[in-house]
Structure formats: structure tokens, C-alpha cells
């Protein structure tokens, strides 16, 4: 193998050229893939909306006091309101879609859109492989709950009240994080939804 001996000028030139070329290719690739990534994110959002809200035949997006709500209609009557809840979990951000009845008193469904919890433990908030018949049992527990005054987490016991959530064994922090985020966001959503006049989008 021949050893290339070359001046520092050539070294800098080649490195710069390679870096510039990579940068250009990536910029082009970015403009091609970015719309697709955005599209998928919106699709995931739409799927989540339709899953957390009760049976409906149309939805519309309304911004009230700066917060985005997804309102579901069956015929002319409002049957449910969905909104995103964001906050910090054990490892990082948890992003959820929460569906509630129009009076924001009762939960109709919960979907977790994004999370980076500990694999195998915290990730059970989305999918718990040890519960084969119902891997999504954690989010399913929220269906029909009444967050009044607010949701609470209990450990190693079966919930008896309509505002109680059973924590996942080994992932108490993640379970508590989900409930804490929801409590905060339900409160702020109630204020935004009830007081704000809406601007309809799409």
C-alpha cells in the first residue's frame, strides 16, 4: 500500500470538499423527506384523535386561547373534545392525545404519541407484553375516568374510585408522570376551552 504524502493544503481542500458535498446532498434529501415526515406525524395525530374520541362522523380543529382542540361531531351535536398533553416523563418528553366528553369532565380515551421511557419498564405505559390479553391496559384504564378533583396513582392495589389509576410495577415514575401531566393539562384545557372563543382551522 502506497503512503500518500501530501501538503496540508490538499488535506484541507479534500476535507472541505467532502463536507460541502455531504452538506449539499443532505440539504436536497431533507427537502425531499421533510414533507413526508410531517405528513406521517399529522396522520398519526388524526388516527389518535379518532381513537380517543367517541363514535363520530366529522372533526374540526379549533384554537381557543392559543390551545388547539379537536372537536368531534356526530351529526350536529358535539360528542367529544380531544387535545394534546405534553410534559416530562422519567427520561424525556411524553406526548399524548387525550379525548374527553364536551364538558371536559370524563375521559373517553388516551393514546401515547411519543415517549422515550426506559425500554421494557417505562415503555409499558404504551405496550406491556406481560399482559398478553391486554397489552395496552395502562392507557385503557383511563377510559371513563372522572378526573375530579384530579387523577391519582395507587400502587399494588385495584382501583376502587373513578379517579384512580393503577401504577405499573417497576415503572412508578413513568406512571406518575403520565398522570401528573394529564392533571396539569386537563386543568389548563378546561380554562382555555370554557373561556376562549374559538378560531376554526380546516
Amino acid at each position: 500500500m502506497t503512503q500518500h504524502t501530501s501538503g496540508s493544503g490538499k488535506m484541507v481542500l479534500v476535507l472541505t470538499l467532502i463536507a460541502a458535498l455531504s452538506g449539499a446532498i443532505l440539504a436536497a434529501w431533507d427537502s425531499y423527506t421533510a414533507p413526508k415526515i410531517t405528513y406521517h406525524r399529522e396522520q398519526a395525530l388524526l388516527v389518535a384523535i379518532s381513537q380517543v374520541l367517541p363514535a363520530h362522523d366529522s372533526t374540526r380543529t379549533v384554537v381557543r386561547n392559543g390551545q388547539t382542540f379537536y372537536e368531534a361531531f356526530a351529526g350536529d351535536s358535539l360528542v367529544g373534545v380531544g387535545f394534546q398533553a405534553l410534559g416530562n416523563g422519567f427520561q424525556g418528553q411524553i406526548r399524548m392525545m387525550l379525548g374527553m366528553t364536551p364538558d371536559l369532565e370524563s375521559i373517553t380515551g388516551l393514546e401515547i404519541l411519543e415517549q422515550v421511557e426506559t425500554p421494557g419498564l417505562g415503555t409499558k405505559i404504551v405496550h406491556d407484553p406481560s399482559q398478553r390479553s391486554e397489552p395496552e391496559w395502562f392507557t385503557n384504564q383511563f377510559n371513563g375516568l372522572l378526573p375530579r378533583p384530579e387523577l391519582t396513582v395507587i400502587k399494588n392495589a385495584t382501583p376502587t374510585h373513578s379517579n384512580e389509576i393503577q401504577a405499573i410495577t417497576g415503572a412508578t415514575i413513568s406512571s406518575q408522570a403520565v398522570v401528573r401531566i394529564l392533571n396539569q393539562q386537563i386543568e389548563s384545557a378546561r380554562q382555555a376551552f370554557r373561556t376562549g372563543s374559538g378560531v376554526v382551522h380546516g
Binding site: K10, I25, K36, E114, G120
Partner: protein
């Protein structure tokens, strides 16, 4: 280059067993262990790594006479990182679910020793055709081990393979297999089995 060229066929096959990146040379263990909790993840990671390996091998082989010796590693790393970004955005754009479950392990392909190792040991010294064949063989060998690991761990840990449930309700999922310790244990047994097969071949 005094060494006699091995045949085209052997150039590909060596990556499958004799110089298998995972079982023989223990390269690229980080993704091997991290994402093989399901067979699908293993397959996706294998393909993404193979793509980056092949494209960087091609490029570096083409550019091998232009890159000054002193900055070769820096140049390789930039080229590899660029292709990893391409693969990462491709997955995010077309396979969002897989992209989510692989998470930060796709960008970590940049520091997969397998890729940098092949560039340094092979593509920088060989013709384009040979480098591609080497890349195909190594990529294939890497992917096959990842898929096999993924299948074993998914079967024992969730009772299914490629998401299809194979073991019925009687089977109590062996949770630890899809958790980090299961990755180490399974790979340990894979390496031991590979040793055993090699030994039997040598004595036969």
C-alpha cells in the same frame, strides 16, 4: 496486494460465517444488542446498516486515490455520517413506526465499528467492484445475525416471531429476554454455538 485474489463468490461468503462481523470479529455489538428485541427491528437495523456500509464502501473506494492519508479517518466519518442521515430520514419518512422503535440507534450507526473498520481495512485499498462485494457480504452477515437474534428473543420474550403469535396462552413470556440482560445472554449463547460449530468443522 501481493496476496492472491480470492474468488468473487468467496468475497461475499466470507462475511456470512468465517469473518462474520458479529460472531467472528465482534464488531458493531451496540446495535446488535440494543435493537434485537423483535425480529422486525433486527431486520430494519440490518438493512439500514447494510445500506450505509454499501454506499460508504462505494464512495470511499471511488475516492480512495484522492483522500490524503492523514485525514482519511475524518473523511470516512463525514461520508458515513452523511449516509446515516440519509437512512435515518428515509426511515422517518417512509417507515415511521420502525423509525420510532429504533430511536437513536439509527444515528448511532455512525460509530458502528463495523462500517469504519471495513473502510479502513478494505474499501480504501480495493477496487470498486471488490469493495461492493465485501460490503454485500458483511452487510448480509450482519443482518442475518441480527434477524436470528431478534427471532430468538422475540419468541422467548413475547411468544411471537415477526409479530405473529406462535406460542399459545400456555406459554408464560420470558420477559427478561426482551430486556437488556436477555440481549447479552442470547448473544453469549450465539457466540458459544458458533465456537462449537467451528470446532466440529475443524475436527471433522
Amino acid at each position: 496486494m501481493a496476496k492472491k485474489q480470492i474468488s468473487i463468490w468467496q468475497e461475499i461468503v466470507k462475511g456470512l460465517w468465517r469473518e462474520n462481523p458479529v460472531l467472528a470479529t465482534l464488531l458493531g455489538l451496540c446495535p446488535t444488542l440494543a435493537v434485537t428485541n423483535t425480529a422486525v427491528n433486527g431486520l430494519a437495523m440490518g438493512l439500514a446498516t447494510s445500506f450505509v456500509l454499501l454506499s460508504s464502501s462505494l464512495f470511499i473506494s471511488i475516492l480512495r486515490h484522492f483522500i490524503p492519508h492523514q485525514v482519511r479517518i475524518a473523511s470516512y466519518i463525514v461520508i458515513i455520517a452523511a449516509f446515516v442521515t440519509v437512512a435515518d430520514r428515509f426511515l422517518a419518512g417512509f417507515f415511521p413506526v420502525i423509525s420510532q422503535s429504533l430511536g437513536p440507534y439509527v444515528p448511532l450507526i455512525v460509530v458502528n465499528c463495523l462500517i469504519l473498520g471495513r473502510q479502513e481495512a478494505f474499501s480504501s485499498k480495493n477496487k470498486i467492484g471488490r469493495s461492493l462485494l465485501d460490503g454485500i457480504g458483511m452487510g448480509l452477515g450482519f443482518s442475518l445475525v441480527l434477524i436470528a437474534l431478534g427471532m430468538v428473543r422475540e419468541l422467548l420474550g413475547s411468544g411471537s416471531i415477526f409479530g405473529i403469535t406462535l406460542l399459545g396462552e400456555w406459554f408464560e413470556p420470558w420477559m427478561v429476554m426482551i430486556l437488556p440482560p436477555g440481549a447479552f445472554l442470547t448473544l453469549g449463547f450465539f457466540i458459544a454455538i458458533a465456537n462449537w460449530i467451528n470446532d466440529r468443522r475443524a475436527t471433522a
